[in-house]
Amino acid sequence: MAEHPGPRPGSLGALLADARLVAAKDLRLEWRSRVILSQVLPFAVLVLILFAFALDPDRRILGQATPGLYWLAVLFSTLLALQRSFTVEAENGVTDSLRMSGLDPGGVFLGKTAGIALHLVALQLVLLAGVTVFYGTTPHGPLLLLAAGATATLGLAAIGSILGVMAAGLKVRDSLLPLLMLPMVAPVLIGASQAFTAAYDRDPGAGWRWIAMLGVFGCLYTAIGIVAFEPLLEET
């Protein structure tokens, strides 16, 4: 019979080991299929370009609105990344395999969240370059930008994973997920945009309480996700 190397099931070590396994699997999936690279990334840049078309090409407006436009582009791209991430888990009976696999559901959640977060980080680096080029703004306050990016990314990935699995497998998933996700991440959009504004305006002091709020949001939904994933994974 199969031996059981590795951490004791049900322990924190098992949770993290399973998270690492799932995250590695998602990264490997992206490596082989290149969907984020070839579709979501161009989409993100396209959103930036569309904003320029929609707003007066007068660069001052784009410059002033850069933080908000940046985070809107991140948000829309996150939706696509989430759709992709959870479609693969709903196809071909993979959901049953996950249930049978013995993976800790909390670990699966953490792994999915980590995978999405890493993809979002890559996306944001490109988007940051994008707004610098297309909107003519220069980033300032790197520490604040980094903190805002990190905490907001965690929040988006965590709540996105919860809602992603909740809507997974439903026929209306593609319109339902944005409806569920966008109002819930309003605080992230507000907070991250305000923090970026503070950074760009060279007034970082105003931005740090937003980081605190984003941090609370991210940690809260990570915790909820670890607990809620098990009932969500059961029963299609």
């Binding site: 019979m1 199969a2 031996e3 396994l21 082989r32 071909n92 049953d96 395999s97 049978m100 696999s101």
Partner: protein, 260 residues
């Protein structure tokens, strides 16, 4: 003999539909039991219920000593299910999939590689993405995942489907090897000739219930309308003796075997 599966009047609902409407089933260690019956009889649901994927809402249901009504998740680590869907990530390679699922089940890397070799997937195919495989090759990959886990109870839902003759021979050989190593097999198949040859016993399902159990020889094969009863079964509480299968005369025949 140790009881691996024991159902008494098990009822399973899919939504509001009673897929299993009172099933009695006994499987002992080391057996290879064939589930047969018409489409929609509930064979897949029996297998999924044994895997702990479908909740049992009434009756008794125990697998490998675990009560499915209270702890169906606990049984999953010890069983292996081969379903209709492949259960594989299409964009990953064969090797990626087998190793991932094996590691998820805490099996060793060597077991995963050995399973791939046993299923003939260790050569060129190992690095082919699953979405480029034929249906038969996907089936072998799913089987490799199952073999690598080394479960104590094998649940196979139409394992011969989509496989060529070599593949089917391989499945039969794997079932034999599993039992020789101490596991038990419960499978559903429409490939009756082959299945009955390898199975030690057959259970007939229809209408979400089990009609009769008995040796494979007891199945009415010549259309004479008679089938022998389940007397030769060595598992104690065999329900339904005296009413033997779908050709039983009289309207009450099929249902006597069930728990009302």
């Amino acid at each position: 003999m140790e009881s691996v599966v024991r159902f008494r009047g098990a009822i399973c609902l899919l939504g509001r539909f009673p897929a299993l409407a009172g099933v009695d089933l006994d499987v002992s260690a080391g057996e290879i039991v064939l589930l047969q019956g018409p489409n929609g009889a509930g064979k897949t649901t029996v297998l999924r219920a044994c895997a702990g994927l479908v909740p049992v809402v009434d009756g008794e249901a125990g697998v490998l000593g675990t009560d499915l009504r209270t702890d169906r998740r606990g049984v999953r680590g010890r069983v292996g299910l081969l379903g209709h869907a492949s259960g594989l990530y299409e964009d990953l390679t064969v090797a990626d999939n087998v190793r991932f699922w094996a590691r998820a089940a805490r099996a060793r890397r060597s077991d995963a590689d050995a399973a791939m070799a046993r299923l003939g997937l260790d050569g060129r195919l190992a690095d082919v993405a699953v979405n480029r495989l034929s249906a038969g090759q996907k089936k072998r990959t799913s089987l490799a995942v199952l073999v690598a886990r080394r479960p104590r109870l094998w649940l196979l839902d139409e394992p011969h489907a989509a496989l060529d003759r070599d593949g089917r021979d391989l499945v039969d050989a794997l079932m034999g090897e599993a039992v020789a190593a101490g596991a038990t097999v419960l499978f559903a198949s429409h490939e009756l000739d082959r299945a009955e040859a390898v199975a030690t016993r057959t259970v007939n399902l229809a209408g979400g219930t089990a009609l009769a159990t008995g040796d494979t020889a007891a199945i009415d094969r010549d259309g004479s309308g008679d089938a022998t009863t389940a007397g030769t079964d060595d598992v104690g509480a065999t329900r339904g003796s005296g009413s033997a299968g779908p050709r039983a005369a009289g309207p009450g025949g099929g249902r006597e075997a069930t728990v009302g």
